[in-house]
């Protein structure tokens, strides 16, 4: 299920870790933006709201926005205030730009329109990054360095995954310059210093823009799930940079549970999610030997997905917390790997799902979920 443009813009914006996002919306949208972050990092809530009310709908929300900008600037010590105008101000035609131009604040202010009905979450993500791309500055190139683009601060396992990817690239002699969107404003500004942009699923428009403006090439890669996926990921980046690194992985952890891998081989599963889904399906199919019966993207019809799953032999479902319903209906386990996850937490940053270590953690999670599912009663 797609979240719409507002959520995409919010996720990209809130990934600037020292910025504050000011949602110019009624309370409900602001609540939604917050709720999905409460399971990822509760110390990293950095958003405020203009609390549009009926009065603003009738008379315009510009005064409320101006007041909120001034208040937010007073309350937060932040270098950047990012204003996201949602559905209501878009319909009533608030002149956000004029309001932003009319105030002088300590923080830099950028704004974007992201009415939910104007596009998909990916559209919102792409446009938000393009909006703040103007803050980037020409920097001296750091040899053998890359930017990783496509992350969001509320992705499930994001801290652990980024840490693992950094480790793998470091082993290959590649430095990670900036992770977008999960970086400080200064890191974002210095993104053009990288030698290569690596885009994972979303952020292609930003890459195009950076290519045009800074001459920075980019590489589109699948999310690095599994041993093969990771080897391909590291190998391709290494080749692109001319390093020629041959990645190595340790098969030892898999040996310890090989009997279970035997048992699970051929398990029919279904996968749904954003751009992570296809890479996950490749790992499940190609490495664990599962039969991926249904693979669906967020942009696809959800009812069709449910119907296809019901009509399949699926015994494990891979998706987000939204798939609780169908998993419960079919009485099958759900492995959560994809946004939004609001019924599991992931705080240990050494238990990734991405990379070589991620392949082990993921396999462990799958086996444990299956073995503990339902106990003796099922």
């Amino acid at each position: 299920m797609d979240g719409g443009k507002f959520f995409g813009a919010f996720r990209a914006s809130s990934g600037i870790t020292d910025a504050v996002v000011l949602n110019h919306v009624p309370v409900g949208c602001n609540w939604g933006a917050g709720i999905f972050k409460t399971t990822s990092n509760q110390f990293d809530m950095r958003h405020a709201c203009t609390v549009m009310h009926e009065r603003e709908i009738v008379f315009g929300g510009e005064d409320a926005l101006r007041e909120a900008l001034i208040r937010a600037d007073e309350l937060y010590d932040t270098p950047l205030l990012l204003v996201i105008a949602g559905d209501a101000p878009s319909i009533i035609g608030d002149d956000v730009e004029a309001v932003v131009d009319s105030v002088t604040l300590d923080s830099e202010v950028m704004w974007m329109e992201a009415a939910g009905f104007k596009g998909s979450a990916m559209d919102g993500y792409e446009e938000a990054l393009l909006c703040i791309a103007g803050l980037m500055k020409e920097s001296e190139t750091i040899q053998d360095s890359v930017n990783l683009i496509g992350f969001s601060p509320d992705d499930f396992k994001v801290d652990a995954d980024v840490k693992e990817i950094r480790r793998l690239l470091s082993d290959a002699g590649v430095e990670v310059n900036t992770v977008i969107s999960k970086c400080s404003l200064e890191e974002f500004r210095r993104a053009p210093a990288a030698e290569l942009n690596v885009v994972l699923g979303q952020g292609t428009k930003l890459c195009e823009q950076m290519k045009k403006e800074f001459g920075l090439p980019y590489l589109k890669m699948d999310y690095p799930y599994g041993l093969d996926g990771t080897s391909h990921f590291v190998g391709a980046i290494s080749d692109e940079l001319g390093i020629g690194h041959e990645p190595e992985f340790d098969i030892e952890p898999f040996k310890r549970i090989y009997l279970y891998l035997h048992e699970l081989y051929g398990t029919p599963v279904s996968v749904i999610g954003d751009f992570h889904a296809e890479a996950m399906a490749n790992f499940l199919d190609g490495e664990l030997g599962f039969n991926v019966e249904v693979l669906s993207g967020n942009e696809d019809d959800y009812f069709e997905f449910e119907e296809d799953v019901r009509n399949s032999n699926t015994t494990i479902l891979f998706g987000s917390s939204f798939e609780q319903g169908i998993a419960e209906t079919l009485d099958i386990p759900l492995i959560r790997f994809c946004y939004p996850v609001f019924d599991n937490v992931s705080v240990y940053d050494c238990a990734p799902y991405a990379g070589y270590r991620g392949a082990v953690c993921l396999t462990e999670a799958i086996i444990n979920t299956v073995m503990s599912y339902g106990g003796m009663n099922k």
């Binding site: 299920m1 959520f7 309370v27 609540w31 009926e54 007041e67 208040r71 009905f117 319903g325 019924d343």
Partner: protein, 529 residues
């Protein structure tokens, strides 16, 4: 669930349900909005399906149930309004959405919930539902949030009003309804587990020769809703606009357990304290009088009360001389329940910071005074602390040799690390606090269990810095809370001219610390109505 909540399933649910109480997104740093309240009602009607008329983002985020964040609303079809619909109108999408929802789910009720975009562009939800409802095999009702003014929680109130207005008492087939003479409906908020909480009340009514027509929400279906107008009286926790409408149109009286309306006139704090032996006796008698059963009720209440008091005197053993620090406010464990339990309230803590953005100083002072008056009526003489720091609280607790602090899990660690035991009121309030004579006996049991918990703990939480005044929040979240409160007050003027009578009478939360019902009150309108 088992009485002490020790059953494996109930323990699990209890801890999960408590999660929403700790979630500071309920009016403290954000507000869920009207759609959540309407969805709460749709979710509580087993054979109803909501249809969100708006862009996909509205359905996306609303899948999360604010009261059970671990458990989404599974079925939330959406009309998926796009840019074109916003320009040319979304009525065709709504029409199509109603038909598809019926074809896909075959519910007995489709509750159309409009959103900011569809409200703003002026889609005529009424005309569409009227037109399409004859083509689908179920009731179709629409809720915009406009039916109930500022009665909160708007989404819940509005959706229930819409069902009453458009379905139950719409003046078409309702005239032939055969009354269930001498019966009442007991209707509580869906998250309260009505079936369990009202069992004793129903039993007392039975003894008083008052029938129970329907209990909501307890596996409630549309056919049950249609039975509501058969009763003589609707009993609700708070003032409900739907109940007033049903009174007007179908002559079903209404009784509010929390007598906020009457409090405004009489300023009697006991009217806001319907629990415990005396509070319950009063409520039962008032209902009996409305039902013309006061004669038989006197004997029943006396007998039940006497029986409960006898068992209470046994349950109280071990609590004599126990001193507690209670939290003041409009919600929370009622002071008269502590009186029944035989404990002494030695410290009364009132926290008003969260109210400051929404209520006048006069209103806040009245709430504090009301608590002090109630303490006096109950025979307590506590040291009253208004907005104390944790250090000030600890000093007062030590000075008065208080044994137990009534503290939710969000702040219990602050006392535990100082060697003070705590009692978490949330579970009690959700699962036990109710009108009836058994409730104080259960409280005695739970207080005694709390007195056996370790006196000193040094949990991980005590290593985190918490705000000096909003104890349940880290300084960062407290800042978010203050920012939200400030921006909200500036924008909608909540803080201006709002008196206790207005807000409380409207069912609004005026919470101090952990108040389950206050959380419900915070589910407000899409535009923060």
């Amino acid at each position: 669930m088992t009485e002490n909540g020790s059953g494996s399933k109930s323990s699990l649910l209890m801890s999960f349900v408590k999660m929403y109480g700790t979630l500071p997104l309920h009016g403290i740093t954000a507000i869920p909005g009207k759609i959540s309240g309407a969805l709460m009602l749709a979710d509580a009607i087993e054979d109803a399906v909501p249809l969100i008329h708006g862009p996909v983002g509205c359905a996306f985020q609303r899948k999360v149930n604010p009261f059970k964040p671990h458990s989404p609303f599974y079925t939330t079809p959406c009309t998926n309004m796009n840019d074109t619909d916003v320009v040319y109108g979304g009525e065709e999408k709504l029409e199509q959405g109603i038909r598809e929802t019926y074809e896909r789910y075959h519910p007995n009720l489709i509750l159309v919930i409009t959103t900011c975009p569809s409200d703003l562009i002026g889609d005529d939800a009424e005309a569409v539902t009227r037109e399409v409802s004859s083509e689908v095999g179920c009731d179709v009702v629409y809720s915009t949030g406009d039916f109930v003014g500022r009665s909160k929680p708007v989404g819940y109130q509005d959706a229930f009003y819409a069902i009453t207005d458009q379905m139950l008492c719409n003046g078409t087939d309702n005239g032939d309804l055969k009354r269930n003479e001498g019966s009442v409906n007991i209707v509580t908020f869906p998250i309260h587990g009505a079936g369990i909480k009202v069992a004793e009340m129903a039993s007392v009514f039975n003894d008083m020769e008052i029938g129970v027509n329907k209990v909501c929400f307890d596996h409630t279906r549309v056919e049950d809703l249609y039975e509501l107008p058969k009763a003589d009286l609707n009993i609700t926790d708070y003032p409900m606009q739907w109940a007033k409408l049903m009174d007007e149109r179908s002559d079903v009286g209404c009784y509010e357990i929390l007598g906020w309306g009457r409090y405004n006139e009489e300023k009697d704090p006991e009217l806001l304290s319907p629990y415990g032996i005396s509070g319950s006796s009063r409520v039962f008698m008032e209902i009996a009088e409305m039902m013309g059963k006061d004669g038989v009720a006197e004997e029943v209440i006396g007998r039940r009360r006497s029986d409960a008091e006898e068992r209470l005197s046994k349950a109280r053993k071990g609590l004599d001389g126990v001193k507690i620090a209670a939290i003041g406010g409009l919600h929370g464990v009622g002071l008269n329940l502590f009186k029944d339990a035989g404990v002494d309230v030695s410290v009364l803590i009132c926290r008003t910071q969260i109210m400051e953005g929404r209520l006048t100083d006069g209103a806040i002072n009245e709430i504090v005074d009301m608590n002090m008056n109630l303490a006096e009526i109950c025979g307590f003489d506590p040291e009253t602390l208004v907005n104390p720091t944790i250090e000030e609280e600890i000093k007062a607790i030590r000075r008065s040799e208080t044994d137990l602090v009534i503290a939710p899990s969000t702040s219990a660690h602050l006392y535990n690390r100082e060697g003070v035991r705590t009692f978490d009121p949330t579970g009690f309030m959700i699962h036990h606090q109710r009108v009836g004579f058994e409730c104080p006996i259960e409280l005695c049991r739970m207080l005694k269990a709390a007195l056996k918990t370790p006196q000193r703990r040094t949990p991980l939480l005590s290593m985190l810095q918490h705000d000096s005044q909003m104890h349940g929040l880290t300084p960062h979240w407290a800042k978010l809370s203050r920012a939200f409160s400030l921006l909200r007050a500036d924008t909608i003027g909540d803080g201006l001219g709002v008196e206790v009578g207005d807000e409380v009478g409207a069912g609004v939360d005026v919470e101090l610390d952990v108040e389950v019902d206050a959380d419900i009150g915070r589910v407000e309108g899409g535009f923060d109505r």
